[in-house]
């Protein structure tokens, strides 16, 4: 589904971010479903707080918190995004054609975030149910304190992957520079291959699930044991 010529266009060369977001929020009560945002110029909080099945195309780079707390909507960014893209997303789809800065998908509770380039540090930090698929690589501390959801990395992962992880599941195809506290490699069983295949398909990533390794929590730090104090 992509915005067509009939899409409602907002040009941020003349309109403000406030006007854009207000119109998108008002559209939840009925109105155009397809939107196109021109000249985003790295503005912050673009298409934040959407709460309807809208289809929004951002024609360029976006700043911090693009599609923050998204619900239901599909947001596509034809460029790079700043810190915290799709932070705390509840549902819907966010696709970044370029790369993402830090904390992509932070604390997200649902929906799918696809980053076609690479993501920087703390991708999926404190993730709580979101699925994230990165076509490229991710920086350090990916899925830090990840509680729920799945992070798929087709490239490499930086140091401290999955540090202090709870129940999030991590799949990495390339090299992992290092695992964080309580994160271990785990067996790839059939159900994992199946869910990974589905995620790769949804994200349009041309990769073979058989090439991935799975990581998750050893669950040794779940209850504080003084003999583990050195692990933190």
């Amino acid at each position: 589904m992509s915005a067509t010529a009939a899409a409602e266009t907002v040009d941020l060369a003349s309109a403000s971010v406030r006007e854009l977001n207000q119109r998108l929020h008002d559209a939840a009560g009925g109105g155009p479903a397809a939107w196109r945002v021109e000249n985003p110029s790295g503005a912050h909080a673009l298409a934040a707080g959407l709460d309807a099945e809208l289809d929004v195309e951002i024609d360029g780079h976006a700043g911090y918190y693009c599609a923050g707390m998204n619900k239901h909507a599909t947001v596509r960014v034809a460029g790079n995004v700043g810190v915290g893209v799709a932070e705390n997303m509840m549902s819907g789809l966010v696709v970044v054609e370029g790369s993402a800065s830090q904390a992509a998908g932070a604390t997200g509770r649902g929906g799918l975030l696809v980053i076609k380039g690479s993501a920087s540090a703390r991708c999926g930090i404190s993730m709580k149910g979101i699925d994230i698929v990165v076509h490229g690589s991710i920086g350090h501390a990916g899925a830090f304190m990840g509680q729920k959801g799945r992070l798929v990395v087709c490239g490499d992962a930086g140091p401290d992957l999955g540090d202090s992880i709870y129940e999030a599941r991590l799949y990495v195809r390339g090299e992992v520079a290092g695992l964080g506290a309580d994160c271990i490699e785990k067996e790839m069983r059939d159900e994992h291959t199946a869910e990974l295949r589905e995620l790769l398909e949804l994200a349009g990533a041309d990769a073979d699930p058989a090439d991935f390794r799975r990581y998750g929590s050893a669950r040794e730090l779940y209850t504080f044991d003084v003999d583990n104090a050195g692990s933190y």
Binding site: V17, R18, N21, Q22, H25, H44, A45, A48, G49, D51, G63, Y64, Y65, G68, M69, K71, V83, G84, E87, N88, M90, Q102, A103, A106, T107, R109, R122, I125, S126, K128, G129, F144, M145, Q147, K148, Y166, E167, Y222, T223, F224, V226, A229
Partner: protein
């Protein structure tokens, strides 16, 4: 004594009853019975102590200040006849819908998880009956709480447990929590015994884990990011509701200036006396500054920016009664916030439960193991049987009464100083009993014009 007896006795160090004083026995000031007991406990367990409540050490506080009532040079207001207003409007700087509370006392953020659902409901009932606000906590917004709170402040904490844009849009104000007075620089704690099914589900955590929340926000660092974060929250809520920034009292002058720069409508400032449901004791007692010292620093910062009363200041930390509240307002706060006081008003540490307290090795008036979830009163627990002991309607009435009494006390003092609104109280109405309090509060020592550090 057999070898076994010796070993088991050593194992028991730190659990034995403390000694009894007799003439001729001199206790060390430094190594007193509590210090010795704690060293034994550390030697046995190898870990810091975790507890609830707030700082128990004595620090300069509002008790060290006195009001100068009216006399020949000032005239007072009639206690029962002349009006002394108490309303406070919060969020006048940027919010389309500022909130007005009828009394200058709000209920501080306390999580569902730390407190039982009925206790959260009672806080909402009591606050609503008095026309003031209550605040969520590190665990999301509970439906019981929203339903029984006419004005509800939704906290955004580093953990983001239960964070939900629907709740954000349902809130009457948003509070970005950077830190709290009991542990500035520390994250939340909720130990496994309090992670029930419902708490686990709201927080997206496995049941029974020891939850140690993040101490920093996941998606912003520093004042410039905070400004962008606040911008996002305003966009999501269409600039309707006020956005507060809560900080623990440390480098208050700078923190307040940076929060104002970042776009806060309201600053919430929590002194080191502020309560907690679970923190390391070393944190509770040794980090942060007393609220008495912090308020004048916050007010100075706001005044220099031309923002005093434009950005409202809510202060908390050890506020127990109308005298504490009135003194905080006189120093320049717009409102105060209570946490421990509210929990005590609900019945915490009540002597009616002395037998139950003794059964868990404590006593009414001393109970602070709120993190253990065994609260006999049913407030700081997730045990359904214990929680059933607590009646939210009665609790709500008790809280409303407590607030009512606090307001009457505050008004009594304000009228005595000749003020027709509690906000007309000013530092000039105060003197200090000690040099320390005088220096911190920046008011003169009683009977002198001396403010230590100002000449």
């Amino acid at each position: 004594m057999t070898e076994f007896d010796v070993a088991s006795k050593q194992e028991g160090f730190g659990t034995e009853a403390t000694g009894r004083w007799r003439p001729g026995l001199r206790e060390s000031h430094l190594f007193d019975r509590n210090a010795i007991h704690e060293i034994h406990r550390m030697a046995r367990e190898g870990i810091y102590d975790i507890r609830g409540f707030g700082a128990k050490r004595k620090v300069p506080h509002f008790d060290d200040l006195l009001f100068l009532g009216a006399s020949v040079s000032r005239y007072p207001l009639e206690g029962y006849r002349e009006k002394c207003a108490t309303d406070v409007t919060l969020g006048t700087r940027f919010a389309k819908e500022p909130i007005t509370i009828d009394i200058p006392i709000t209920i501080a953020g306390m999580s569902f998880g730390a407190l039982s659902a009925p206790a959260k409901e009672a806080l909402g009932r009591g606050a609503s009956a008095m026309g003031t606000s209550t605040t969520t906590g590190d665990g999301g917004m509970l439906p019981e709480e929203r339903d029984h709170s006419t004005k509800l402040v939704y906290q955004i904490l580093p953990s983001r447990y239960g964070m939900n844009p629907d709740d954000l849009r349902r809130a009457d104000a948003i509070e970005v929590v950077v830190g709290q007075g009991a542990k500035p620089g520390g994250g939340g704690m909720l130990l496994g015994q309090k992670i029930s099914d419902r708490v686990a589900e709201m927080r997206d955590l496995p049941k029974g884990v020891d939850q140690r929340s993040a101490c920093r926000h996941p998606d912003w660092t520093g004042p410039d990011d905070l400004e962008i974060k606040i911008g996002e929250l305003r966009e999501i809520t269409d600039w309707r509701v006020p956005i507060y920034v809560k900080v623990g009292a440390t480098r208050t002058y700078f923190d307040v200036a940076l929060a104002v720069k970042a776009g806060a409508d309201v600053i919430v400032l929590d002194g080191m006396e502020g309560g907690t449901a679970a923190s390391q004791e070393v944190f509770i007692e040794h980090v942060g500054i007393p609220i008495l010292a912090a308020i004048p620093e916050a007010v100075r910062s706001l005044q220099e920016l031309g923002m005093h009363r434009e950005v409202q200041l809510i202060v908390s930390g050890g506020i127990r009664n109308g005298a504490d509240a009135a003194k905080a307002l006189a120093l320049g706060a717009d409102a105060v916030s209570i946490g421990v006081g509210a929990v005590v008003a609900l019945g915490d540490n009540s002597h009616h439960f002395e037998d139950d307290y003794e059964a868990i090795g404590t006593s009414a008036g001393f109970y602070d193991d709120w993190h253990e979830g065994r609260d006999p009163v049913g407030i700081s627990t997730q045990d359904e049987e214990l929680a059933k002991r607590f009646d939210p309607e009665l609790g709500g009435r008790r809280l409303a009464n407590y607030l009512r009494a606090m307001v009457l006390e505050t008004q009594t003092l304000a009228r005595a100083c000749g003020k027709s609104h509690v906000h007309n109280l000013e530092p000039e109405d105060l003197v200090a009993l000690t040099f320390e309090a005088a220096a911190m509060a920046k008011v003169p020592v009683a009977g002198t014009s001396w403010i230590p550090g100002q000449d």
